[in-house]
């Protein structure tokens, strides 16, 4: 494990009694390697390592822990700090229905998450309706309708009308039925597909969503930064959802996306069933990334 790896590398620290530039160097190289292997973006790793170096240098080496453990503690604490707070809530608007837009790359888990979010919000006392705004993917509407039916959540669909028109009609229907929340499932798209990104911008300006959630696959590698940055630039999304965290990926994308966008990670999806979602815990995420 990481602590054992570092203990070997920085035995020299014991002699000086203080963590200094030289003896920390080796330890930090080990941490850098571990973070890259965990899929943290290399630029984020660089900045993270210098922040840790600054915090660690000059720290007294206490007798109760090994130098390796001490450096790891600084790393762990800094990681937790960077990953952000737990339980940042969804934003709702004063006038119902609140609109929540679910966006992200192809296959990241948006449709599944939309249903999960609906179930969560209903549990917390809200009255949500799902909106099938992916008019492109074969059987995408059917997929959301099936998921909604499975947990008794209403799903609004209007065939393959333009997504803005579907959503405007959904708002009308929500007002009629007294639904206070609309969760809009959108088609997966590439951040470099200008027409598709423009479609999302159009949805945003037509619906004034109180919340835009960027859904990212937890096993994403270095590309996590490029796509998240592009979605942020064009949509200024409010929160991040990481999916497929029930796998064995280290999840470095969590740190990358959080560090580069500054937006809070709000939910962790950890399974295929509609109850497999939990609020974000920075401590758990930090331990996972460090491996």
């Amino acid at each position: 494990d990481l602590i054992q790896k570092l203990d070997g590398a920085i035995r020299a620290i014991r002699n000086t009694g203080k963590l200094n530039e030289k003896n920390i160097g080796e330890a930090l190289r080990g941490i850098q390697r571990a973070l890259l292997e965990a899929d943290v973006h290399f630029k984020v790793v660089k900045e993270f390592i210098s922040a840790v170096r600054e915090k660690a240098v000059g720290t007294e080496v206490t007798r109760s822990v090994s130098p390796g453990q001490q450096v790891v503690k600084v790393v762990h604490d800094e990681l937790v700090r960077l990953l952000g707070h737990a339980h940042v809530p969804i934003a709702f608007s004063g006038i119902p229905p609140s609109v929540i837009l679910i966006v992200g790359l192809q296959g990241s888990g948006k449709t599944t998450f939309a249903a999960k979010l609906g179930a969560l919000l209903r549990k917390s006392g809200r009255d949500p309706m799902l909106v099938a705004a992916d008019i492109y993917r074969p059987a995408a509407i059917k997929q959301l309708a099936t998921l909604g039916k499975g947990i008794n959540l209403p799903v609004f669909e209007k065939g393959t009308l333009k997504p803005v028109l579907i959503c405007k009609a959904a708002v009308e229907e929500a007002r009629k039925q007294g639904k206070d929340t609309l969760i809009v499932d959108t088609a997966g798209r590439l951040h470099i597909d200008d027409a598709m990104m423009a479609e999302l911008e159009a949805l945003k300006s037509a619906l004034h969503p109180s919340e835009i959630l960027y859904v990212a696959d937890g096993m994403t590698g270095q590309d996590a930064v490029k796509s998240a940055q592009a979605f942020l630039d064009r949509l200024d999304f409010n929160g991040i959802v990481l999916t497929k965290m029930d796998g064995d990926s280290r999840g470095g994308a969590a740190l990358s996306i959080r560090a580069v966008t500054g937006r809070p990670i709000k939910f962790i999806s950890n399974g295929e069933k509609t109850d497999a979602v939990e609020p974000f815990h920075p401590e758990r995420m930090a331990s996972r990334i460090l491996g």
Binding site: G107, H191, G221
Partner: protein, 278 residues
């Protein structure tokens, strides 16, 4: 006497970043650059030489011994099992393969063996229509091995040339799901000895180092014969395929370049490497 030609720090860093950004992995990046430095000519344009040597080495690593990507149909029916973790592009890739085989005048049968996920069968059904292929399906919740069995059976008796078996996305870390996949594989082989003739692992090009674990576990479970690297039309480069080729010997056979019927091409090592350094 040998004196190693000096590459400046800035160039080395730039090259290392190109490699790491493509998800080739930190350890690979380091060893590739180390190797490259040992092969630099004594003089000349070092910047050009370093790039060329790196590109050539990576091209060699992913394309060694290949006569080209894609694959040859070797049996009749030729049975292809498509596997991978959730959301990578299996169903869509099957639609694309069905279309390609159809254009080669082969009779194609699709097996809807994802009997778990919402609207999975409907999704494949739509692709069958687009690709003009036939479809074998059962009800949702049916035993996927049974669907696969029926499809191979149908292909053998009704003269299909290619069978493409779609399976549910599954995380390699889920033992029970991997057992289910092994059963699908076994049942296919029992109905037609030698089948499946191909087991294609669909990998999302945005996947990081976890892709190696995926390949390893799927390889152990059902023996992967090739990779479909999907979503390469994005900015991700799927560099994990270098490790997969190096450590597991699994070659990339196809590349997904979009969401339409024609967006699948045989893997070409040369253009792949160009796209990393491009």
């Amino acid at each position: 006497l040998h004196s190693k030609p000096k590459l400046d720090e800035e160039l080395l860093e730039e090259l290392e970043e190109i490699l790491i950004q493509s998800d080739i992995g930190a350890a690979n990046a380091l060893s590739l650059i180390g190797e490259m430095r040992g092969r630099l000519p004594a003089d000349g344009d070092l910047e050009e030489a370093s790039r060329r040597i790196l590109m050539e080495r990576i091209r060699q690593l992913v394309g060694e011994g290949e006569t080209g990507g894609g694959m040859t149909v070797t049996a009749d029916p030729h049975v292809i099992l498509v596997v991978g973790v959730n959301g990578t592009g299996k169903t869509t890739s099957i639609g694309k393969l069905a279309y390609r085989f159809g254009r080669e005048n082969r009779k194609v049968l699709l097996a809807a063996a994802d009997t778990f996920r919402a609207a999975a069968v409907e999704q494949l059904g739509e692709w069958a229509v687009r690709a003009k292929a036939d479809l074998i399906r059962q009800s949702m919740g049916a035993d996927p091995a049974s669907v696969a069995h029926d499809a191979v059976e149908a292909a053998m008796t009704r003269g299909f040339n290619v069978v493409l078996v779609d399976t549910a996305g599954r995380l390699h870390s889920k033992v029970n799901l991997m057992e289910e996949l092994k059963k699908i594989h076994r049942v296919i082989g029992r109905r037609m000895p030698g089948a499946p003739h191909e087991v294609l692992l669909v990998l999302d090009a945005t996947t990081g180092q976890n892709g190696l674990n995926q390949a390893r576990v799927f390889q152990q479970a059902v023996g992967v014969t090739g990779i479909i690297l999907a979503k390469l039309d994005g900015t991700a480069r799927g560099g994990i395929v270098v490790s997969i080729r190096r450590e597991l010997g699994i070659p990339v056979k196809w590349v997904g370049l979009g969401e339409g019927l024609e967006d699948l091409v045989p893997f070409d090592p040369g253009s792949y490497v160009e796209s990393i350094f491009g």
